[in-house]
C-alpha cells in the first residue's frame, strides 16, 4: 500500500482526472486521508460550480469610448505634426530656444568672468596681506639686528671712550 504522502500526491492528480487503484486502496484503509480526499473533492466541486462574473452592461460602451478617445488623440497629434503651420511654429520655437540658450550662455560667461575677477582680487588681496606681514616681520627682524649692532657699536665706542679717558687721566 502507498504511504499517506504518496496518497496526497495521487489525490491531487486524481482531481485532474487520473484516479489510480493504489489511491482507492489507500483511501479504503486510511480514515484521515479519506477525510482529506473528501475535503479536496468538495473544494474541487465548489470551484467548478462557482459562477463566472460579468462586468456592468455599460462596460463595452466605456471601453469603446476610451478606444475612440485614444484614436482621436493619435489622429490629432498626427495632424498637428503634419501641418506646415505647426512645423514652422515648432521651427521658430526651436530657434527661439537656441537663441535664448545662447543668451543664457553669454550671461553665464559674463558671470564667470566677474567671478574670476573677484577671485583674482581676493587672491591678490591675500598676497598683499601676506606681503605686508612679511615686510612687518622682516622689518621687525631688521630693527632687532640693527638695534643689536647699534648697541654693540655703542658698547665698543663706550669702551674706546673709557680707555681714552683713562689714558688721558694717566
Amino acid at each position: 500500500m502507498i504511504s499517506c504522502e504518496e496518497a496526497l500526491e495521487k489525490m491531487l492528480e486524481a482531481l485532474e482526472g487520473s484516479q489510480t487503484p493504489e489511491l482507492l486502496d489507500h483511501l479504503a484503509g486510511c480514515e484521515s486521508c479519506l477525510a482529506q480526499w473528501r475535503r479536496l473533492e468538495a473544494v474541487h466541486a465548489l470551484l467548478e460550480s462557482a459562477p463566472a462574473l460579468n462586468p456592468s452592461p455599460e462596460f463595452k460602451a466605456k471601453v469603446m469610448a476610451a478606444v475612440r478617445r485614444e484614436v482621436a488623440l493619435k489622429r490629432a497629434i498626427k495632424a498637428l505634426v503634419a501641418s506646415p503651420l505647426v512645423f514652422f511654429a515648432a521651427a521658430a520655437l526651436a530657434i527661439g530656444l537656441v537663441a535664448l540658450a545662447l543668451r543664457l550662455w553669454d550671461l553665464l560667461l559674463a558671470f564667470r568672468i566677474l567671478l574670476e575677477m573677484a577671485l583674482s582680487w581676493l587672491w591678490r588681496l591675500k598676497w598683499l596681506v601676506k606681503l605686508a606681514l612679511e615686510v612687518l616681520l622682516v622689518s621687525s627682524r631688521l630693527t632687532f639686528y640693527f638695534a643689536l649692532v647699534w648697541l654693540m657699536l655703542l658698547a665698543v665706542f663706550a669702551k674706546f671712550v673709557k680707555r681714552e679717558v683713562q689714558n688721558e687721566v694717566a
Partner: protein
C-alpha cells in the same frame, strides 16, 4: 473555448476601430472575471479590465497571431492586476472586499458561491490567479504558466497548494463535505 477573433483583429489593424467592440464583447467576461477575482472589488476590476482592453488595442500591432488572443489579453489583465495589487498593497483589503461583494452581488445565490468569494480572498494573488484560470477559464497548467509567467511544474505545485489551503479553510469555516 476560444472563439476565432482573427477577422476582427485584422479589421482593427486595418483601421476599422469599431470592430474592436467584437473583441470586447467576446472577451469582457473572462477579463473582468480574472480582474475581479484578483482584486475583489467590482469598480476596480472594471477599471483594470478597461485598461487591459485599451492596452491590447494600443499594442495590437505587436500581438503574435500564432498565440491565442484571449490568453494574450488575460496575461495583460493578470500583469495589470498584479501591478495594481503590488502598488497599493491591497491583499488585506481584497479579502475584506470579497466578503462585501459576496453580500452585495450574491444575495440570492447559493451559500457556496458566497463562501467561494471569501475563500479565494484567503489565497495569495498568484495562487488565486492560477485557481481562477484553472476553474473559471479551463486553461491547462501549461497555458496558465504562459499567462502568469511561470513554469508548468511551478503552476502545478501552486495549484495543489491552493487546493489544500482552500480545503483547510473550508474545514476551519465549519463546512464539512
Amino acid at each position: 473555448m476560444e472563439e476565432d477573433l482573427s477577422p476582427a483583429i485584422r479589421k482593427v489593424l486595418s483601421g476599422e476601430i469599431e470592430a474592436f467592440s467584437e473583441i470586447v464583447e467576446a472577451c469582457q467576461g473572462a477579463v473582468y472575471n480574472l480582474a475581479f477575482r484578483l482584486l475583489g472589488d467590482p469598480a476596480e476590476a472594471e477599471d483594470i479590465a478597461q485598461e487591459a482592453f485599451l492596452r491590447a488595442f494600443k499594442n495590437l500591432s505587436f500581438y503574435d497571431s500564432k498565440r491565442p488572443f484571449l490568453r494574450w489579453l488575460l496575461a495583460i489583465t493578470y500583469n495589470l492586476s498584479m501591478d495594481y495589487l503590488r502598488r497599493r498593497s491591497r491583499e488585506i483589503r481584497a479579502v475584506k472586499a470579497f466578503s462585501a461583494l459576496a453580500d452585495r452581488q450574491n444575495r440570492n445565490s447559493e451559500p457556496s458561491a458566497m463562501e467561494m468569494q471569501e475563500l479565494l480572498g484567503r489565497l495569495d494573488a498568484v495562487d488565486r490567479a492560477i485557481v481562477v484560470l484553472k476553474y473559471w477559464h479551463g486553461f491547462s497548467l501549461k497555458e496558465i504558466g504562459e499567462i502568469v509567467g511561470l513554469g508548468e511544474g511551478v503552476v502545478k505545485v501552486k495549484l495543489h497548494r491552493a487546493r489544500l489551503r482552500l480545503a483547510d479553510e473550508l474545514e476551519k469555516g465549519g463546512r464539512r463535505p
